[in-house]
């Protein structure tokens, strides 16, 4: 019952009659008559919703503007410090991922930033190496062509190697050949090389330490 009433209320003046008819068509046996909603009410309702939509849009725009301003400030700050902290890198990374909204604007920002950094440091090429394993690349490489190319590659990859492609490994193929050949032999890679990487690395470290100890018994 309540449902019907709500439907009636929310319909705009044009759709109101249609909604009412629909209601009546659906449940002709219902005793209660639908509540009448005045034209005024529904107009107010429509206007309110419109305003709300405009408001949210404006709010989002403000938010974006704010974010951009903050980022610009951050970059200015960093330029002064001549250092490029990891958070900014993360932000830039997340901005490349969040490409949908305004990829061009962001690209411009980052490219500008990169250009300035480049001039300052007088380093060539598109990427720079930082401390550790971070690399910074210009947005010039990450245009829409790049993303389209990536999408096309992914399509190919998923069709040929994705789910349902029924594939095995080269190792298995060769091992089967060994098994069925005239001179039967063991599997090509008897132990999977990518198994237990961490344990192997740990063992390697311990081995090195032990050898070092053997060489310098004083320590």
């Amino acid at each position: 019952m309540g449902e019907k009433k709500q439907r009636g209320k929310e319909a705009s003046s044009d759709g109101e009659k249609a909604a009412e008819n629909l209601n009546m068509a659906l449940e002709p046996s219902d005793d209660e008559a639908p509540e009448e909603v005045t034209f005024q009410d529904s107009r107010v309702e429509a206007l309110r919703r419109l305003k709300e939509a405009l408001d949210t849009e404006r709010r989002e725009k403000e938010l974006l503007k704010e974010k951009r301003r903050k980022r610009q400030e951050l970059f200015q700050e960093q330029k002064k410090r001549k250092l490029f902290p990891a958070e900014a890198l993360e932000e830039m990374n997340s901005s490349t991922l969040k490409k949908q909204k305004q990829p061009e604007d962001e690209a411009e920002d980052d490219e500008e930033e990169m250009k300035e950094k480049k001039e300052k440091k007088k380093k060539s090429a598109h990427s720079r190496k930082l401390k550790g394993t971070y690399t910074v690349r210009t947005m010039k490489d990450q245009t829409s062509t790049f993303f389209q190319q990536q999408a096309a590659k992914e399509f190919l990859q998923s069709r040929l190697y994705g789910a349902g492609s029924c594939r095995t490994t080269s190792n298995e193929l060769l091992s089967l050949q060994n098994k069925k050949g005239t001179n039967q032999s063991a599997a090509v890679q008897f132990v999977r090389k990518d198994w237990a990487c961490k344990e192997k690395a740990k063992a390697e470290k311990l081995k090195k330490r032990w050898i070092h100890k053997q060489r310098n018994p004083s320590t």
Binding site: A125, T145, Q148, Q149, A151, A152, K153, F155, R159, L160, Y161, G164, S165, C166, R167, T168, T169, S170, N171, E172, L173, L174, L176, K179, K180, V188, Q189
Partner: protein, 621 residues
């Protein structure tokens, strides 16, 4: 032959790149092959299938399709660009954006007037072929999904395009799509996925042949827009199709690595025309992984794919049986050396597309791949070239290796398209090949350079595959793709007595039958009459002081000679001492201390690192 200490090197983990596309030019007998790393190779089918030219790749430039227009070569890739190559200087001549998103295929009409490219955004774009460039003409009607393959009708009036779940036929004049042929999806689990028409061919009698991801080869009537016949050839995808020039035979390549042949035959005895239909005839299992590119020449089936090997399989009904021509050829390694050896210093240089391994140094500039590299015999100089530049480095090795980049003179920087580099035996000069068969000589102490005009390679002769200058006699030894050997005296400017004697007698039949080219020539510092050659499956020491083998003598006689008594041995010895102990040899050099360095690349190691092949359930496995 003598005994050598051998350093057997197997840690050069060179990985060849998968074959993505190929195009055969029947007029010039050249096959163009595009690899996954963007490199384009040209093989000369009339010169013993020699890999004549290699245009190195570039990071981020992968080629999806190739096409010849007369003697011009074009390619297109997922980066949305069409490239025309400069085959003289071995680099891209220009690049033009198609603005349709990633390009899936490119094809030229029979008349040679227009290029059609099919794009991710659903358009087929037509480009007019002009003298020095191509120009966008117009789009055909835009479609809703990507266009993966296309084929011109021989008349040029229609284009058949393979898409997702369907084939469209376009009228090239109006640009309108005239027919829509619906392709059935696979059975079972594949029914929920769209079927991709990976390849398509339009024949002159208006038959369309398509290969799709459901493993079907379908024959369609292009006039009526109806399906004539379906052949299910594999459980996996049919990735490539090729049709012979006379349209009597066609081949389909699958993800299983098989190639299925169909022939246009008559089913009745009278052999009337209207009874002809496409009948499945032979199946070739030439590859272990997906076949992505095919070509059907007059005499052979040429295929390539994810297992990186180029296979030429002669059709036995087109060639004389039991001849050299009838043998299947597998080209697994490049026909030029990727390994440099500093003979005096005992250093090795491994060439990869994007870096050199001496002790892991020298990242290439930008994203251009390395064409060729060389290490001086003393180990003091390292040079490599890319499409755009030549780099020279001075090495100092006391306990560690330190590298200093040398800033060469202007003229050397301007050297472009250098595809051969070699140091003189005393490490004082660097020879670099340049365009128009000239060689630039650089003196390495003062870094001056003077131009030296060498012999122009006579056209009509087979291409040289390995060349070297003897350190003492100053004779130039060259070995060619047809396995001929020449010795030329640089001082007298004529062929030597020995060379003429060899030509007169002719090389042994078995020598000429070898199917891999000689990739390097070297010399023995202790014996000036020795010439050391190697190809992928053997190495040979030619002793110029011994008699040449006649056609009736046994060529590979080293094993038998060992068991003979001394006088008999000297009587039967001939000049060609061949050793086949090492297989898949990428390079071989003789160091100054008379030890041999053999760099092998076992095919098994390459195969173990290839991407996943399809899984076939076989009994008892």
């Amino acid at each position: 032959m003598g005994e050598f200490k051998v350093h057997r090197v197997r840690f050069f983990d060179y990985m060849p790149s998968a074959i993505r596309a190929m195009a055969f030019n029947s007029r010039t007998e050249r096959l163009a092959v595009a690899r996954a790393d963007g490199a384009v190779e040209i093989f000369n089918f009339s010169d013993n299938y020699y890999q004549e030219k290699v245009i190195p790749g570039r990071d981020g430039r992968a080629v999806e399709a190739l096409c010849w227009v007369g003697q011009r070569l074009f390619s297109a890739g997922l980066n949305g660009e069409i490239t025309e190559y400069d085959l003289e200087n071995l680099k891209p001549q220009y690049v033009i954006e198609a603005y349709g998103g990633p390009i899936w295929t490119i094809s030229c009409n029979n008349q040679g007037t227009h290029l059609a490219v099919s794009c991710e955004d659903g358009t087929v774009k037509l480009f007019e072929i002009l003298k020095e460039k191509i120009q966008f003409q117009r789009n055909l009607d835009r479609q809703k999904s990507r266009i993966i393959s296309l084929s011109w009708h021989p008349s040029g009036a229609q284009i058949a395009a393979g898409m997702m779940d369907m084939i469209r036929i376009f009228d090239t004049e109006t640009g309108r799509a005239t027919h829509r042929l619906l392709v059935e999806r696979g059975v079972g689990a594949s029914k929920s996925r769209e079927v991709v028409v990976w390849s398509i061919a339009f024949l002159s009698n208006n038959t369309i042949v398509s290969g799709d991801s459901a493993g079907k080869v379908q024959i369609w009537d292009g006039l009526m827009g109806t399906l004539v016949r379906t052949h299910l050839v594999t459980k996996w995808d049919v990735l490539a199709l090729a049709v012979s020039q006379d349209e009597s035979s066609l081949i389909a390549g699958t993800s299983e690595g098989t190639i299925v042949q169909f022939q246009f035959l008559s089913s009745t005895v009278d052999r009337q025309d209207r009874d002809h239909e496409w009948v499945r005839t032979r199946t070739f299992k030439n590859h272990s992984h997906d076949v992505k590119a095919l070509a059907l020449t007059d005499t052979a089936v040429v295929s390539g794919g994810m297992d990186t090997q180029l296979v030429v399989h002669p059709l036995l009904d087109k060639v004389e049986k039991n001849t050299q021509e009838a043998a299947q050829r597998k080209i697994a390694f490049p026909h030029r050396s990727l390994v440099g050896c500093a003979k005096k210093a005992g250093l090795l240089l491994f060439q990869f597309p994007d870096h050199l391994e001496l002790w892991r140094l020298g990242e290439s500039d930008g994203n251009d791949h390395i064409c060729c590299s060389a290490l001086s015999p003393c180990g003091g100089w390292l040079v490599y070239s890319t499409v755009s530049s030549v780099r020279l480095y001075k090495l100092q090795h006391n306990n560690n290796i330190s590298v200093n980049k040398v800033r060469p003179q202007q003229r050397i920087i301007q050297l472009r398209s250098v595809h051969q580099l070699c140091f003189s035996a005393d490490s004082s000069k660097l020879f670099a090949s340049s365009s128009q068969s000239s060689v630039v000589v650089v003196a390495l102490n003062q870094l001056e350079c003077k131009y030296l005009q060498t012999l122009r390679h006579k056209s009509g002769h087979s291409c040289p595959t390995a060349v070297a200058i003897h350190p003492t006699t100053n004779n130039l030894i060259s070995v060619h793709a047809d396995q001929q050997i020449f010795e030329f005296s640089l001082q007298q400017k004529e062929y030597t007595e020995w060379s003429r004697k060899l030509q007169k007698q002719g090389l042994h039949g078995l020598w000429l039958k070898r199917d891999t080219p000689v990739t390097s020539v070297g010399f023995n510092p202790k014996n000036p009459t020795h010439i050391i050659l190697n190809d992928t499956f053997m190495f040979c020491i030619i002793d110029q002081s011994l008699p040449l083998p006649e056609s009736s003598t046994i060529l590979y006689n080293q094993m038998t000679l060992r068991s003979l008594p001394a006088p008999e041995r000297t009587r039967q010895s001939h000049a060609f001492k061949i050793c086949k102990n090492f297989q898949h040899v990428l390079s071989m050099s003789l160091l100054d201390d008379l030890s041999l360095v053999v760099v092998e690349r076992p095919l098994l190691d390459v195969m173990a690192q290839l991407p996943p092949p399809v899984r076939q359930k076989k009994f008892a496995t």
